[in-house]
Symmetry: C2
Subunit: 722 residues, 2 copies
Amino acid sequence: MAGKSKSLGTFDAGSIAPFFESKSLAVIGASTDPIKQGGRPVRYSVMSGYKGRVYPINPRADEVQGVKAYPSVGDVPGPVECAFIALPAPAVEGAVMDCAEKGVRAAIIISAGFGEVGAAGRRTQQRIADIGRDAGMRLVGPNCMGLMDVRRNFFPTFAPLFGFNGEERPGIGNISLVSQSGAFGAHAYEMARTRGAAFNKWVTTGNQCDTEISDFVAYLADDKDTEIIMIYFEGCRDPEKLKQAFRMARANGKPVVLLKAGRSETGVKAAVSHTGSMAGSDAAFDGFCRQFGIHRADTTSELMDIAIACSMRKYPSKPRVGLVSISGAAGALMADYAAEVGLDVPPLPRAAQKKLLKLFPFGSALNPIDPTALWGQDMSVLSASLEALIKDGGHDAVVLFGSTIGVNFINIERFKNHIFPVRKKYPKPLIVISMLGSPDLIADWKTEGFQIYEDPRRAIEVVAALAKLGPIARREARPPARPRVPRAFRITPERALSEAEAMDALEKAGLPFAPRGVATSRAGAQRLAAKMGFPAVLKIASRDILHKSDIGGVELGLASKREVGAAYDGILKKAKKAAPGAAIDGVLVAPQIGGGDETILGVSNDPGLGPVVMFGMGGIFVEVYKDVAFRVAPFSRAEAKAMIAEVTGHAILTGARGQAASDVDALADALHRLSLFAAANADTIASIDINPFMVLPKGKGKKGKGRKGRGAVGVDALIEPL
Amino acid sequence: MAGKSKSLGTFDAGSIAPFFESKSLAVIGASTDPIKQGGRPVRYSVMSGYKGRVYPINPRADEVQGVKAYPSVGDVPGPVECAFIALPAPAVEGAVMDCAEKGVRAAIIISAGFGEVGAAGRRTQQRIADIGRDAGMRLVGPNCMGLMDVRRNFFPTFAPLFGFNGEERPGIGNISLVSQSGAFGAHAYEMARTRGAAFNKWVTTGNQCDTEISDFVAYLADDKDTEIIMIYFEGCRDPEKLKQAFRMARANGKPVVLLKAGRSETGVKAAVSHTGSMAGSDAAFDGFCRQFGIHRADTTSELMDIAIACSMRKYPSKPRVGLVSISGAAGALMADYAAEVGLDVPPLPRAAQKKLLKLFPFGSALNPIDPTALWGQDMSVLSASLEALIKDGGHDAVVLFGSTIGVNFINIERFKNHIFPVRKKYPKPLIVISMLGSPDLIADWKTEGFQIYEDPRRAIEVVAALAKLGPIARREARPPARPRVPRAFRITPERALSEAEAMDALEKAGLPFAPRGVATSRAGAQRLAAKMGFPAVLKIASRDILHKSDIGGVELGLASKREVGAAYDGILKKAKKAAPGAAIDGVLVAPQIGGGDETILGVSNDPGLGPVVMFGMGGIFVEVYKDVAFRVAPFSRAEAKAMIAEVTGHAILTGARGQAASDVDALADALHRLSLFAAANADTIASIDINPFMVLPKGKGKKGKGRKGRGAVGVDALIEPL
């Protein structure tokens, strides 16, 4: 089964194609009642004028809704490429077998009562998946709502479509949706419709016994009719496939907008090992989205608004915006929002300001532009402001707050007469209007090429999202690099590693660690400490004692041979008392590292994302402020730098409070190498902690042997095997 | 003028009443054109059936829109209580004089071209304000949109109302709006209308030459028809009046929902002195809102939704919610949102779960309740779930995610038939439905007593806001205490205080400081240090050198008499070099405080809020994480505790990382006393910094002389006079 074998992140697009491109559809469990689940695909095929053949399968009817029916799929005279199965759960396995025998290439199982209802259901679901795999027949579902390819009039779904009499025929758009939840898929369909938008392809994957989200993302990445991919995500089986699918979407210039539940899920396996365990796997998913340029929405309406905005293909070239407002209050609010979402609001050039101030001498022509109440008498102040922003300010994204202009019976036509010509004269820039108005009015303006939002906050959020996704849509932003993972980094931990072994393994991967030695006698410890320089650190060396501090197995700041000797004896005594059966290698001796910034590097093997690397500033910053960043492994040094910059405490590294800047290059190199090591050992390592990892002042680290950037040094390491 | 004299926070409600309760209205500049600014109040009076007398004032017409007109207000035969002035700016001053002469009690000036357009305009505006004050006539505006009292059919405003032919007659609600911006007022009116809600009173205050936001908040606090106060706020002149108005609203059980711009305003005077200067006055305003129980909205739609939700008078008793969803996905999303906004989602009692699981054996009956797709066949699973949450779970706030049920022509009636009876059976609880649907459908459900939101996120936000405002509406939450400010705390700084003087003054107010002495000789410094104990701290003592560290005027951790001597000489030498003209009192000697948590206490005199107290964890936490909390002075110890708990770094004080808990009582006492000191000196002090203020481990501080809670100690203090 797909989920059990190790994936190489490759896809069989040819096997997914029949879900959309089939020329024949069998509806198994076809109902003569057009509003029943098994009746709808037949009704939709008839209403839409589907060009392929439809075969209702119903042993108790000769025809279904005017279409000739067959007792079983085996009885269909011609080939059947795609099947829609709407039977009670107990009958599904037989139907899947019939399909396999008939040579069906793609089967959609909407029936519920499988994996989601317990062990017996899971077993049946597994058998169904096995039948499909053995026959080379791909499956969608079970427990889903089916799918649609609107352009081809292909509607194997029971989602409510077409209205009562076909008056709400689905439109054809350039957004395609992949949703794990059927109900969410239907909800999104309706939200898009009421916003005047439409889907191209739409698929709900349900229990994902065979195909999962990533299969469809990969298919849509190559689908010429799909320009934007919208996703409702819950989880996945195969991290490598998932990453590869998003890489393909990005390589092909398709913005991805995604919604995922699970931020608060209690009991969710933490994405990082215990030092970062307060930040759950949801934070790791956030990091993944940043890494892959996915816009993660917080709400269904944000998901819809951003995707629909993308569908209009007007991406600003820069994260900046020009603002006009008929209300100074709203202008100030929009400037606030712009600052919050990272949009620049630069003032207009002086000459343009002077020109505008001739029109409204008591207004403001900076940006936001406030033409004062003069617009009530003369709406050309609004069109002139828009034009000044576009032409003189060079803005290709402008927002006009029009408030109630659209509901005022006097203003509505005047407003149109002044603003529509600006759109015609400047067809390229993104023009967003925040105003109230009837659905008809809004639709009218949308048709004319404006984006309309009631709330000015959403208007600004949309501009920010489009500015962020623009480089992807223009294919300027390449997919995240996938650095080669050296085979030499592989270790095969059959048991927990001792600290010394963990440091050795990570050092081989190029991570810098403090010099150290394991002493097996008091005198040996003293000799090592003297050689490496005081103050010294002593730690119990035992693969059986992973959490050394907890048993008093660590002594810091030892200033003399005398103190080292006492610490050696004390540590061994405490270790023997606390862990009598532990195999003790001795006591690890190292020089104490001072004068750097304490950070934490971690790795956790996330079930959905594979190895995830965490970075945070040390101690209290991670524990109290949860100030951490995540990326999925492996990643480049550039990505590591983005990750470091994402953490608020980053300012500490760059020299807050007048301190010396730290060697961020060395830190980024270490994170990159840690990601390679994590990727190389994805199948054997559960977690890695390097805590603390000291980042030394820039240019003051010890020089490595030809290796770049060693102004950082790990002081402790813990590797836990799967 | 009101803004110039020191306010005692008292209001003259009798002088505000004529703005709403007048039995006569003169429209000065009345237009025969009913859609002009000067025409509308006449038109609205006629259309609405205003019971009072309307006098159009127009020297060029005998009648205006069918109403007898007069050449000037002086020509009106009877008394004129209220006047609406819609004249060009140059004519306004004369009209105001006429009104004063006629004995008008309240004048509304909508004309623009005053304070907002420069110095000349400001001067005219001041003269107008003076005329009003001298005549005992209150003014609203200039540069506003007027006001309305819908219940009394009183509409002295040019906001677009009534539609083309009166078909959109304003409804009467229990929300009243006070907006500084006229355009925003009109926008809010229209947003409320499209949501099926209505205002009771509505006023736009514009340039606020006389009355300001607080006057109307105070009036509405006592107005029996107003249950919710909605505000668009920009700024105010009189902090004491503002606080008193909000105190009155809260005392009278009226929730306040407020929107304010200015988060990002560049160049905004920082609310706190330099240590907290990264957090602008907007953060102080946030603290003020928390203190006074004001719901501060981020967006116009949030402002409307929360106010309208309040208007339905169904406040949950606790911050908890019961959830039902026809989509597992949306159930998970709602649980996430609930966690984010602090709502508890407790599981149903076991017995209730068992009962529900008989209806949907494969669903989840915990909370969120997921009855699976069975609802498609039998909608009683939804009503039974709702009923179980209300009856068995004891929930008085439930949210049902109904998705597209309302747009599906098959489900729509069935849904109603199952859910409306639950509303009838349980009239008290808050029942929120998140679903899509036509405006008519939504209106239908709202009439039935449901709250409806398209996005489930907003549904959850509304429940959280209502749970927060409930105690205010029920008058369980008293207004914030206003502790007595001791006169003895007043100081009269004629010049900058030296550190020693600042500490002495704050110590008299009960704030604990480290023992210290000022040495004027090397031997004296050594003697003092030896007496107080090593390690010692030496600091230059000079009122002319406020930023001591900058000139090398501070030496820490001095371990011996020898080190103290050297430091004494070094500090004096550096001070004389860096500030040759400075008056030097000597060198301040103090013991170094160790082992506590470093915090920062600050005060800044905010132009809009008066003295604002800031609290933050020391050093990097304030500078990098901007992790600070604000309250306006004075405030109680309980408020201080709430303030401390608001800071993320609060976990450090309560013993994060296994450290001992710190004496938070002592810290709260110090913040409370600092707030008293700040309030006592509101007219003379610009800022106070106590940095660091060390909070010692609980029970380990030195015992004070009968004073409670001295487990904290200030180490440095800076007071800057106004």
